[in-house]
Subunit: 184 residues, 2 copies
DNA sequence: ATCAATTATATTGATATCAACGTTTCAGAT
DNA sequence: ATCTGAAACGTTGATATCAATATAATTGAT
């Protein structure tokens, strides 16, 4: 009847201006396109670069650790690994102590490609950072890191346990006292 | 030979801590999961909510305008519309003046759903904003908006023309000069 | 030793994202 | 009138993303 059901345009404008999810999606898409473009000559996407980079550490991590580091669903990681494994850039090995665990490592070809990609990242990221000079890039990083950490803590309760409570160091200590990647 | 090709762990830590693309992807994923969860009872994803919200305006926009507003590839929009059209939430009509253009509008069912979804967004977004109180949410929004605008200007040269330089009017004021969507 | 709960991962089905390429329509020049 | 270029959109193929569900291995309690 009188359910004229319509949403005032004003509210649409409010959502458009305020919504952090929308703003983050847009910026993430734009940044992804940007890095996809510069990595294209190497046959890598931005996500593949981040993933391979996260595998460059002293001892090969297992999938769950990598997924958490990237704030990525474990099943997403499974899918993301397929093309890299098929191309021989990433090697999977079952842990000898626990046969449920899969250790992920870069092959020498993968390492070579990563070595090629690194200066491309440095250059591109430097340009973006310069573009952002008036917008406090460090504060932006902190806010984004805080968001992904806190929201994951709320939602990741999937695995229950204590989860949250660790307010600091989302990326703590790049000083590497704790050396290995990932929090805690 | 001596191509030991390996990337110092130090550099991996640098990328992990500094990369704005990675930080944005992680935060965007976390925010997306968060809104996907609260909208699930309504059968909407965060992206579908944003898309439908962008269609709530005085006069039906065409696809290209919506894609630009969302910093989204046109082909992505085509795909994103399919499920919404199939469910009868969005109506497509060919422009009578220019048969290349497709006008996108919410059906009454789509409008009803959006009216239901709006208070859910208000509540959820308020909680996130409260969580961020110590991290200057306004500055975060500004930085994200700046990023998506500037990077799109650089890359969207796809359509060549003047592209960049025009800070306003992404969607030329249909009526309300600044009131229509499009960045301030 | 056995059984239940937990952990680590894979599979399926759906949507999201984009580049490359192709089609239709329009506008302007010959 | 025809031709050319541009504008708007679609299709295809590939990767990305996640929920729901399923499987295998481990751990802990009995």
């Amino acid at each position: 009847m009188s359910s004229k059901t319509s949403l005032p345009f004003q509210m649409t404008l409010q959502v458009k201006d305020a919504c952090l999810c929308l703003h983050a999606q847009r910026a993430a898409r734009a940044l992804a396109r940007c890095f996809d473009e510069v990595f294209r000559p190497l046959g890598l996407t931005n996500g593949q670069f981040s993933l391979m980079m996260s595998l460059n550490r002293p001892s090969p991590p297992i999938m769950g650790q990598v997924a958490e580091l990237l704030s990525m669903n474990r099943t997403t990681l499974t899918a993301a690994l397929k093309p890299l494994i098929k191309r021989g850039l990433v090697i999977v090995q079952i842990d000898s102590e626990d046969r449920r665990k899969q250790r992920l490592a870069l092959s020498s070809a993968g390492m070579s490609l990563l070595v090629e990609a690194y200066p491309v990242w440095v250059k591109t990221h430097g340009e973006i950072e310069a573009l952002l000079r008036d917008h406090d890039p460090d504060a932006l990083r902190r806010a984004l890191a805080f968001l992904s950490f806190r929201l994951d803590s709320m939602i990741l309760s999937e695995s229950s346990s204590v989860a949250a409570s660790q307010p600091e160091g989302t990326l703590g200590a790049s000083t590497h006292e704790s050396s290995d990647l990932g929090r805690a």
